[in-house]
């Protein structure tokens, strides 16, 4: 799945797409295996109540991939039995739903303005990271990214 996300970002330019693995606190082998072979985010569903699975019900079954749009609305789901079938399905969904990001549009409102500057400054102060705020793609958010947002607005 990690390779698939890299492929989506590098080969198809779907930068604002992320695959998040949802493990369970009572199954450490999945979590350790996953972490050893992946750079994807991993969150833990607390056993035995499994609140994330309950929240996603009727989705969230074993090997199920649930795809949500920018607002958290369900746009598709599939079982990851075949990587090629999953890729084909996800690419079809992204073609329909993906909106190309506007550089500097940190809050994803399709505009670049002072609100985006405020967000970037807030991330610097709170030591947060978000790809959309990392304008120069150097892996850190700092004053250089603020300058780039300002330049986008001025130009």
């Amino acid at each position: 799945m990690s390779n698939f996300q890299d492929e989506l970002r590098n080969d198809y330019d779907y930068e604002n797409v992320v695959i998040i693995a949802i493990g369970q606190t009572n199954i450490s082998s999945f979590n350790s295996n996953f972490c050893a072979n992946s750079d994807l985010p991993l969150v833990m569903d607390q056993y035995p109540s499994l609140p994330i699975r309950e929240q996603f019900s009727p989705y969230g079954l074993h090997k199920q991939l649930v795809i949500l749009d920018y607002d958290g609305n369900h746009i598709g789901d599939t079982f990851v039995n075949s990587i090629s079938a999953t890729k084909s399905y996800v690419l079809g969904l992204l073609e329909e739903h993906y909106e190309q990001a506007v550089p500097g549009d940190v809050n994803s409102d399709t505009l670049v303005n002072v609100q985006d500057i405020i967000l970037v400054v807030g991330m610097i102060l709170n030591a947060e990271y978000n790809d959309s705020a990392d304008l120069n793609s150097d892996g850190i958010i700092n004053v250089l990214d603020v300058v780039q947002v300002v330049n986008i607005i001025l130009n």
Partner: protein
């Protein structure tokens, strides 16, 4: 008028938040390790959630 707008929009807001969660990223090799995902770290992203219940 405001009441009508509220009644019309409230269910939409509820639906949009149906699947939202904000939990710590436990993968030490992930760029967002230790931060809360998917909110706020992946706000503005199309998110795919992969469930596994086996080791």
């Amino acid at each position: 008028m405001k009441k009508i707008l509220f009644i019309l929009l409230f269910p939409i807001v509820l639906i949009a938040d149906e699947f939202q969660y904000s939990l710590q990223d436990y993968n030490s090799t992930s760029p967002t390790y230790g931060l809360d995902v998917w909110n706020p770290q992946y706000e503005g992203y199309i998110t795919m959630h992969y469930f596994s219940s086996q080791g």
